[in-house]
């Protein structure tokens, strides 16, 4: 039996009459890249929001590393090692890239009720942050203000921040959203380098990227997972083609 880092069982969430998440069961293996695909409005972001603790599910359970985290706050889950990036770029715009990543490092280092020592003098934190920036290829722009770098670089910063948290698992919400071809290719390369090292749950629209990255795929339609399998098998799955690929690849 393989080890599952994240185990979601019978998760439900509805808004009014709409089932955004409908009896979702999902298991993500340690060290693998697991992608979730599905048409617009299938409830991918809602699912991710429940995993990260931003939205409370109506019922069901989420186990992470063998223990239930369903009652943990977003911050607590982050400290447990479940890091997320946001679909809409969400960094601290007026801070520099380095300061942003240092915040992420700071989040891993115990409480921050430290009132006296300047953060900028903290070599250890700085080095850790620079290492994360280097992982996504932003180390040469560390002192640029986040608001002033390109959209693609902000997306990379998102990933660097998630990495800097030294997470056991990354929840990436459309890391390639709004990126050009070149930037997208770069992101694929970054994620590929993390393979085996980090467990990743990836929500992404870019099919080529998903097919080249994912070890496993789940297809989400109307809040329900209709299939979970290897990339090859999903490609050949008729139901999936009808429900999803049929529309966009016709």
């Amino acid at each position: 039996m393989t080890e599952h880092l994240l185990q979601v069982s019978s998760l439900n969430k509805h808004f009014g009459g709409i089932y955004a998440t409908d009896d979702v069961n999902l298991a993500v293996e340690q060290g693998k890249i697991h992608a979730i695909i599905g048409p617009n409005g299938a409830g991918k972001t809602t699912l991710l929001a429940q995993l990260s603790g931003q939205i409370k599910p109506d019922s069901g359970d989420i186990e992470f590393g063998g223990k239930s985290i369903i009652h943990y706050s977003m911050a607590r889950r982050a400290r447990e090692g479940l890091a997320r990036s946001f679909q809409i770029t969400s960094v601290v715009m007026p801070m520099t890239l380095l300061q942003n990543v240092m915040l992420a490092v700071q989040g891993t280092g115990g409480h921050s009720f430290r009132f006296w020592a300047p953060v900028s003098d903290d070599r250890e934190m700085r080095d850790a942050a620079m290492a994360s920036l280097a992982e996504v290829g932003l180390d040469d722009r560390a002192d640029r203000v986040a608001a002033n770098v390109s959209h693609g670089e902000q997306r990379q910063l998102e990933v660097a921040m998630a990495l800097a948290m030294k997470p056991r698992m990354l929840l990436l919400d459309e890391p390639m959203a709004g990126m050009g071809k070149e930037e997208g290719a770069m992101m694929v390369e970054i994620l590929n380098r993390l393979r085996g090292d980090k467990t990743i749950l990836l929500v992404e629209h870019d099919m080529d990227a998903v097919f080249s990255l994912a070890d496993k795929l789940s297809v989400l339609v109307d809040g329900h997972i209709i299939a979970t399998d290897t990339v090859e098998a999903i490609r050949n799955n008729l139901e999936v083609q009808r429900a999803y690929l049929g529309d966009s690849h016709a």
């Binding site: 990260s52 931003q54 706050s73 977003m74 911050a75 607590r76 982050a78 400290r79 890091a83 997320r84 946001f86 969400s90 960094v91 601290v92 715009m93 007026p94 801070m95 300061q99 240092m102 915040l103 992420a104 700071q106 989040g107 891993t108 921050s112 009720f113 430290r114 009132f115 006296w116 020592a117 300047p118 953060v119 900028s120 921040m161 948290m165």
Partner: protein
């Protein structure tokens, strides 16, 4: 901040601090003792404004009730004095303790909310303090309370005499500046500033932002109560009027003219406000009208306050270099 000023604004601030440090001698030499009074009041307010800037400027928590903490600090001198208790340490401990406790309770409620709610709730709580003191007949209600002697401290740090009190105020103001400067550049400050701009992100990074903001609110309130304690000693008279929400509004105004989220902004803003108030009220009884127009104009047209303008000089200089 290095020891040698490196920019136009830094030179201005260094010069300002030097003048403030020598002010009692300066005014004595000019034979203008009244100016020392004015400056003392200005620096007391500056402490309150520095404390407000911590939550408002750095933390993005727009409190419209900060004058309550000035009032609490002042009454923590006034009420013991009413019972002939003049021990300064007692006053100090009371001011810090009561304001901290009040901030902890009201902050715990207010910080559960955001934006408009937070503004209105802080205002409502300060109004509550206002009405409590207004209804306490024993302590003078709306007539206020006269404090006949200053808080008593050991000889070498006595508050008696205008110059001694001025140095009390000046040193506490300096300490406040220093404290805030350390705070905002430390881990704690980073969390506070990060939460101002992007709270969900900070939570996703593992920070329980609510706790940090609450701690920040309490620190700010306690610092502000020091201003109240000094004001009670300086004025020798306290009344609920110190707490009315117009006072809180003025504090915000001073933060804004100085320039939010800068270390020296609040000091500059407060001094500008006090000088303007003094100057304008000497010219016309309708000086509030000019203040009102300035406020509206500042929001519609001005950006960054005085600190912002000085920084613009810095940037220009850098471009010319």
């Amino acid at each position: 901040m290095g020891m040698v000023p490196r920019s136009v604004s830094a030179w201005c601030y260094a010069a300002l601090l030097a003048v403030l440090a020598l002010a009692p001698f300066l005014f004595e030499w000019m034979e203008q003792p009244f100016y020392l009074d004015l400056l003392s009041r200005g620096l007391i307010l500056a402490i309150a404004v520095i404390s407000l800037n911590l939550i408002l400027g750095y933390g993005g928590m727009v409190s419209l009730g900060h004058a309550a903490y000035i009032g609490i600090g002042a009454y923590c001198v006034g009420i013991p004095a009413y019972y002939d208790l003049y021990n300064g340490w007692l006053h100090l401990a009371l001011a810090l303790g009561v304001s901290g406790l009040f901030a902890l309770v009201t902050g715990a409620v207010s910080l559960r909310t955001k934006g408009v709610y937070f503004i209105m709730i802080t205002m409502a709580f300060s109004q509550m303090v206002y009405f409590i003191f207004l209804s306490l007949e024993e302590y003078g209600a709306d007539d206020g309370l006269v404090i006949y002697a200053r808080s008593e401290f050991p000889e070498w740090m006595s508050m008696d005499g205008a110059t001694s009190l001025y140095y009390w105020i000046f040193i506490l103001m300096l300490l406040s500046l220093f404290l805030i400067n350390r705070l905002v550049h430390a881990r704690f400050g980073r969390v506070i500033v990060g939460s101002k701009f992007n709270e969900p992100r900070m939570q996703a990074l593992g920070f329980d932002t609510y706790r940090y903001r609450l701690a920040c609110y309490v620190i700010s309130a306690m610092l502000c109560s020091l201003a109240g304690m000094l004001l009670g000693n300086f004025a020798g008279f306290i009344s609920p009027d110190m707490i009315s929400w117009a006072r809180s509004g003025e504090l915000i105004f001073m933060v804004i003219i100085g320039g939010v989220a800068s270390i020296f902004g609040p000091l500059i803003g407060t001094l500008a406000f006090v000088v303007l108030e003094e100057g304008l009220s000497a010219i016309t009884v309708y000086w509030h009208l000019i203040f009102g127009i300035m406020l509206v104009a500042l929001v519609l047209f001005g950006k960054g306050g005085i600190h912002g303008w000085l920084s613009m000089l810095d940037r220009k200089r850098v471009e010319h270099d």
